[in-house]
Amino acid sequence: MPQLDLAYSATRRRAELAEAGDREVVSALCAGDEQALDELIERKTKPLLQLAYRILGDREEARDVVQVTFFKIWENRARFDSRWSPNTWIYRIASNVAIDQLRARQSRERAAEPVRNHLSQVAAGRRVTTGAAYDHGEVMAVFRDLAGELSDKQRVIFVLREIEGLSSHETAEVVGCRESTVRNHLFNARRTLRRELLRRYPEYVPPAAVAAEARS
């Protein structure tokens, strides 16, 4: 019963991979194990979708980026260095694909004025100072608009540090630069975002923060 043996073997392999750590799964993938690719897709689709969505602010584009990321992971599996953290490698590929996607749509991003006007109207009716929680999609739309003022690298670094919560060291490894460069890009990104948020969306800024900004 060779077919039954094969099916049993595949099931057992799937179970082994499900129990394995990321490093073991990536090692198996590097050896050409297609089930390891399946396992990686199972584990990383959700975090990569979140990352790509935070960078791009668009669900469909995020899905495309994740698909291409896994394909590139498979195609470039021979280049993985076992000294690297699997997550760093995967995030690096995803970030680079997202940057490619950003560059492809830069001209469209300049046409965000109607979105901005709509958001201003929505926020005007909100009781900001009484603690009403912001909607995720609404904040993402604001971020996407303001992030158009950032360079691709500033944008990715801001997302990795401030939203994904990576350390400067981890961010530097993902982006492929020095920690001091990460700190510089982050400083500039924060300054630009703060300035543009106050200018374009003052209704999203609590009065205390407006006053603090005016004093500084």
Partner: protein, 155 residues
């Protein structure tokens, strides 16, 4: 302390704390269907890569171009399978031995692999059980080609 209170405290000092909302999961972004869709898309891209060869493929990173290349690759495989099945049926009905699958029939712009690579291609998955499939017929002088395309073919 509630999550909105936690959010508002730093916001009083830093306007950018607004973006702390984004650290939470985007509602409805990742579902079980997404994992299955990613698996299908990656498999299609890999098929496209195998069929098309490295030189003729689009630049990595262009998701739409990749999907299109994968779809073309899958279409090519489907066309070959259908054509081969048609020739085989015709030969069988004439009471003759089954004709061999043609060694190399390439889609325009795509280099055919060497040897009998095309003949070893498996039948395009799913074509034998189309759900809401469309049928296209291309009439040629020596060969009619019928394409059956269902909704899983994302161009």
């Amino acid at each position: 302390m509630s999550s909105s209170e936690e959010l508002l405290r730093p916001a009083a000092a830093d306007p950018l704390a607004l973006f702390g909302v984004l650290a939470g999961e985007a509602p409805g972004l990742a579902t079980a269907d997404d994992v299955a869709e990613v698996r299908r898309a990656v498999a299609a891209m890999r098929r496209g890569r195998r069929l098309a060869g490295r030189r003729s493929l689009p630049r990595l990173g262009s998701a739409a171009a990749w999907r299109q290349a994968a779809a073309v690759g899958v279409l090519a495989a489907g066309l070959l399978s259908l054509a081969a099945a048609g020739w085989q049926r015709a030969a069988e009905s004439a009471g003759e031995p089954a004709a061999a699958v043609p060694a190399a029939v390439a889609m325009p712009g795509y280099a055919a692999p060497g040897g009998d690579e095309w003949a070893r291609r498996p039948v395009f998955e799913g074509l034998d059980r189309p759900r809401s499939a469309s049928v296209y017929e291309l009439a040629g002088e020596e060969l009619d080609v019928v394409m059956v395309v269902d909704e899983t073919l994302d161009v």
